[in-house]
Chain length 332, copies 2
C-alpha cells in the first residue's frame, strides 16, 4: 500500500524535515504534494533527487489526497484539517490545534500506538518537549507507576521555527563582532543567553509549553493523576532539546533497574559514561532518531528509594515532531 | 580602618573582578598587592586609574599583609593560606579548599554573617551556583522551613575560568564559519551546545558541583536535614548562572507570600513580568550585584500548597565569587 500524501507547511523547519524522513525511511508514497502559503508557492524542494514545486495551500488542495502531514501552525490546521478529512484523507497534525480534543488521539508510537485506531480522520502529534520526555519515561512508568516529575528544559530555538535558527546565528555573529543586530523572530536576546519559553502565561504562572508537558503526558499515558511541575527554558542551541528530569515513583526504583529497562526500550539510547563525564548533549542528539538518556542517579532526597534523576536530549524537529508524525503514519 | 590587602590569583576571571569591585565599592585599602603565578608576574592591571604590577606569588608574599582575597585554585590556597594566616592576615578564600572544613566558616553575607566571627584566619567563600541559590532561598527558609529543593542549573562557562570565555567565543565563531576549532579549556563542544558540568562524578552519580549545592547549603543554613537533588549543566553563556528551583516547604506557601518576602530581601531583585513574559536572564544578571528572581509559581503538584517554583539568574563571577568575598571582608 502506498499513500497519496500532502505536506502542509512544507517549507518550515518541520516541513523540510518531513521530506528528509520520508526519503530516509523510504515511506510508501503514491504521490507527494508540497503545500505552503502563497508566499512560498513556486519554491522548489529536493526529494529523492527530484525537484518538487511547492503549491499554494487552498481549500481545493486535498482532492485525492489520502494522507496529510500538517505542520503549518494551529490556525491553518483548524481551517484545513477538516477539509482534508472531508475529502477522505487522514491528517497527522503536528500543531497544538487538536491535541487536547477528546475525540482526537494524541500519539507517541512508543507509548500509545493502540490509540491510533480510535481516530476519526485526525491524529495529533504531541508537543516536542513532551514527546522527548515521554519516550524514556513511559517504559519506567509501566514498570513502576510514576507519581510526579519535576522537569526543567533546555530547549533549542528550532522550536520557534526555521527562521529562529538563522536569527540565533546572526545574533551570535553580531555579538561576537560587537555589532547591533535586530532579531527577526526570537523575542529575547538570543546570543549567549537563556530565557523563559515565550509562550503565553496562564493565571497560575505556568506557560503554555509547561501546561502541554502536563496535560499531553496525562492524555498520552492515560494517567490523569500524573503530576508534572515543568519549567520550560530556551537556550542558545540550534536544534535538539535537553531536559533535566526528577522522578518520584510509587515503589522503590534503582539506577540499575532504570538502566535495564531503558537498555531495551524502543527509541532510547543510554549515554551515561561517568568515567569520561560523557552524557546526553543536544549536539549529539541532533539528527538522531533516539532520545539520549544519561545522568541516571538515585535521588536519595526521596524516602524509600523511590527517586530517580535523569538528563536527556532528543532532536526536537526529528523525534520531537516530523519523525513522530511519520511513525504514526507508518502505523496507520 | 584600611586594610593592607593582597589578591591571590589576580589575573584570573575572579581576580580581575576583585579589582573592579574593590574600586566600585571604594573598599578601604591601605595598600594593594597583586599576586599570581610566575607566568603572569610583570603583567600590569588597571586600578583606580593606576597601573599595578602583578608580583609572583611566593611564601614571602604575605609579609605585612592583613587581608588576602584568594582565588588561585584549591591547591594554591591549601599551600599559601596557612602561610598568610601565620603572617597575621585574614584570608577570604574563594576556592573549595576549606569550605567543608568544620573549623572554617563558610559565609554568604545575606545568610550567615554571624559565622564570620568564628574564623581562625580563614573564611571560605561558597561555590558560585550555591551562593546564587542561597541568596533568594534563605529568606524563604527563614519564613517557612524548606525540606527539599529540586534544582537544575544553566551555568555559564566563566566558572571554568577566564580562558573559557575566549574558548566559547572562538568555538562559536568557528561553528558559524564552518571551521574546525580545537577548544583549549572547555572539554565538550561549546558552540550551540549544552553539557553536564564536568566536575568529577562520585559513586552515587552526582558530580562535585551538585554535591557542593547540597553540602555547602546545609552548612551555610545550619540545616543538616535539608535535601537538594541538583543537576548541574553548562550552557553556552559567557557569565551569570541561571537555576530552575522547585521548593518543598514545611507549611503552605503562596506566590504572594514569596513575593512579599523577596521584595524586601537583601541581594534580591524580583523580575517577574508575566504580561511581557520577562523573567530572569543571565544577560540581565551580568554585572549586577543582585540575584534576579522570577517565574514565581505555586507548584500545585505538591499537596497542601507547600510547593513553589522559581527561576533565578545571578552573576557567577560577581555575586557568585568576588562580590561575596569582598562583602565578607567588609563585615570583618
Amino acid at each position: 500500500m502506498a499513500w497519496k500524501t500532502a505536506i502542509m507547511g512544507a517549507t518550515g523547519a518541520v516541513g523540510t524535515e518531513f521530506l528528509t524522513i520520508l526519503e530516509q525511511r523510504n515511506f510508501p508514497l503514491a504521490s507527494l504534494k508540497l503545500l505552503a502559503s502563497s508566499r512560498s508557492a513556486g519554491r522548489k524542494l529536493n526529494f529523492k533527487g527530484e525537484q518538487l514545486v511547492v503549491e499554494e495551500l487552498t481549500e481545493k488542495s486535498f482532492k485525492g489526497v489520502e494522507l496529510v502531514l500538517a505542520s503549518a501552525g494551529g490556525s491553518i490546521s483548524k481551517k484545513y484539517a477538516p477539509i482534508a478529512v472531508a475529502e477522505g484523507a487522514v491528517v497527522v497534525d503536528n500543531t497544538s490545534a487538536y491535541r487536547m480534543d477528546p475525540a482526537v488521539p494524541l500519539v507517541v508510537p512508543e507509548v500509545n500506538p493502540q490509540d491510533i485506531q480510535l481516530h476519526k480522520g485526525i491524529i495529533a502529534n504531541p508537543n516536542c518537549s513532551t514527546i522527548i520526555m515521554n519516550v524514556p519515561v513511559w517504559p519506567l512508568h509501566q514498570a513502576n507507576p510514576i507519581r510526579r516529575i519535576v522537569m526543567s528544559t533546555y530547549q533549542a530555538v528550532s522550536g520557534i521555527g526555521a527562521a529562529a535558527m538563522a536569527d540565533l546565528a546572526e545574533a551570535t555573529r553580531a555579538a561576537l563582532e560587537g555589532r547591533e543586530y535586530q532579531q527577526k523572530v526570537i523575542k529575547f536576546p538570543a546570543a549567549f543567553n537563556v530565557w523563559s519559553h515565550d509562550s503565553g502565561i496562564a493565571e497560575d504562572g505556568y506557560n503554555v509549553e509547561e501546561q502541554k508537558a502536563l496535560n499531553e503526558t496525562r492524555k498520552i499515558f492515560h494517567c490523569p493523576s500524573l503530576r508534572i511541575p515543568a519549567t520550560c527554558i530556551r537556550v542558545p542551541v540550534m536544534r535538539a532539546h535537553s531536559e533535566s528530569i526528577n522522578i518520584e515513583f510509587t515503589n522503590p526504583m534503582t539506577p540499575a533497574q532504570v538502566r535495564a529497562i531503558l537498555g531495551k526500550a524502543p527509541g532510547v539510547k543510554i549515554v551515561d559514561d561517568r568515567a569520561r563525564n560523557y552524557f546526553p548533549m543536544p549536539r549529539d542528539a541532533t539528527g538522531q532518531d533516539d532520545v539520549l538518556v544519561g545522568r541516571i542517579r538515585q535521588d536519595v532526597s526521596q524516602d524509600g528509594g523511590r527517586g530517580i534523576d535523569l538528563f536527556i536530549a532528543g532532536d526536537q524537529i526529528r523525534k520531537g515532531a516530523a519523525l513522530n508524525a511519520v511513525q504514526i503514519a507508518e502505523l496507520l
